[in-house]
Symmetry: C2
Subunit: 296 residues, 2 copies
């Protein structure tokens, strides 16, 4: 018997689509039903074999559902939970793939209060700069991390089923508090995205933008790759994790003010020292966490 | 007959070593002589076949030399030019691989005044985050750009010989003024390096650095790759191009101040618009300038 009988995926883009494909490849799901705001995307998902059928609405989708993954931008989750609440059956496991957790959990308490035992918030840490249903692939999560931030009300077996689903996708599951999650990812993910978007936006607005871009090379390519990320998704992340992101941005601005002072003073000794410390930390990290072998 | 008879490479690291290897592979050089501050590096360069012999000093190196590449961090070039000046013979072509050009050209006028016809400043645009003689490989420059910033005093045939050498390495040569060069690379290379060094340095100094780094994923990996670059080289670049880099940093700080205000105001509409503009510019650039097919 498969791990999941009827799987409902709300938002069949890169994240939701790859989850469905991975579970199918692992033989861990019997039937995948798609829900979403865009009928054309859902139709394409059927064509691509990402989902097996399209639900007419939440009543239809949740009828006999074992497991629901909410994989839309986080800004939509409150309204989605409100819409699904009347039709959610006891025992159906619900999880999400939102990049922020405190705001998602607030929405869970607001909208799904009778179901707190079985709603398990989570966040798969997988590159999402190529978005859309066409971008999904079954090995996206292989070797990646998934952070689960259980609610105190969660039933242990509900948490276990969410862990098992992600493990079946090839991911490693870790647990964190929502507060830690949001602070950690503000630093290592949300801030870098903001910085990359900002740099490309800054340069693109220059009178000599064409000249500048024509001389950008491999360093620029890697540094700005995440500026190709999904604008709506990142708008939602920035708003949802605004407090932690502002704190990180302010700390980074202090770092830049220090670097600016070193530059202004022509302090080569301290610049070289700082660059050396950064290089050693980056090298140590890269040695400890080599890239997963699948395409990122 | 080979393009170059006796080639002298000063600084046999990634850049100088790869130049020698590329010319050898192209059959464009007869003999490569290495000069440098570190005897062990030079000995290793002979073992690796990067150079054929080690010069005892500049007199020895420049005796009968056809072509000299200066491939050290730019902060050393003034002293190097001073040391080589008494031994430089008329007709020997001299070029450099410095990432900044105005400061190098100032040193040329200061140290090599009798040789202005044959000293042609240049800058190969090739990733240099892995440094050292072991990192060199013959295809580093294939499909890459080399910017040549000729002096008004340069003989056309001297410029042509520098272009021909880089073309033999598989690179595409473009000409720019030193002023344009330094401004353009402050924006698309020097500033991103400073920002990446700064982010890693900032995070590495936190009490919870280990927790943060353990959750960094592929976006962080790419964004911070250039923070693994050579500290001395980047110290020199920052100091040499300080003026243009400060101007770029200040413009970027204004961009971050704008982003901070949007975050603080919770202005999702403008955030999404800015991210969308950045994404479109990044996508258009990536489509127009696909990565070279060789390893970057």
């Amino acid at each position: 018997m498969a791990l999941i009988g009827k799987l409902v995926v709300c938002g069949v883009g890169l994240i939701g689509g790859s989850f469905a494909l991975a579970l199918k490849q692992a033989g861990a799901v019997e039937r995948v039903v798609g829900v979403g705001r865009n009928p054309a995307t859902l139709a394409r998902a059927v064509e691509l074999g990402v989902i097996d059928e399209i639900a007419a609405g939440w009543r239809d989708a949740l009828d006999g559902a074992d497991f629901v993954l909410l994989a839309t931008p986080v800004g939509q989750l409150d309204a989605i939970m409100e819409a699904m609440a009347p039709h959610l059956q006891p025992g159906t496991i619900v999880t999400d793939a939102g990049s922020t957790k405190r705001d998602v959990i607030e929405a869970v308490y607001r909208r799904l209060d009778p179901h707190l035992a079985t709603v398990v918030p989570a966040h798969p840490i997988a590159g999402a700069e190529k978005s859309g249903v066409e971008a999904g692939f079954p090995t996206l999560y292989r070797g990646k991390k998934v952070v689960v931030t259980p609610l105190p009300e969660n039933r242990p077996d509900a948490v276990e089923r969410v862990r098992a689903a992600w493990t079946a996708c090839g991911a490693t599951v870790v647990e964190m508090s929502p507060q830690d999650h949001d602070r950690v990812f503000a630093a290592v993910s949300h801030l870098p995205h903001l910085l990359a978007f900002g740099l490309v936006h800054d340069l693109a607005g220059r009178a000599n933008a064409e000249l500048l871009f024509s001389h950008a090379a491999s360093g620029f390519r890697d540094f700005t790759r995440i500026a190709g990320s999904h604008p709506e998704m990142w708008r939602d992340i920035c708003l949802a994790n605004r407090q932690a992101l502002l704190a990180e941005l302010d700390q980074y601005l202090a770092e830049l003010a220090y670097l600016r002072a070193l530059l202004l003073a022509g302090d080569g000794t301290r610049l070289e020292q700082l660059f050396g410390e950064a290089r050693r930390a980056r090298d140590a990290w890269a040695a400890q966490f080599p890239p997963p072998s699948t395409a990122e």
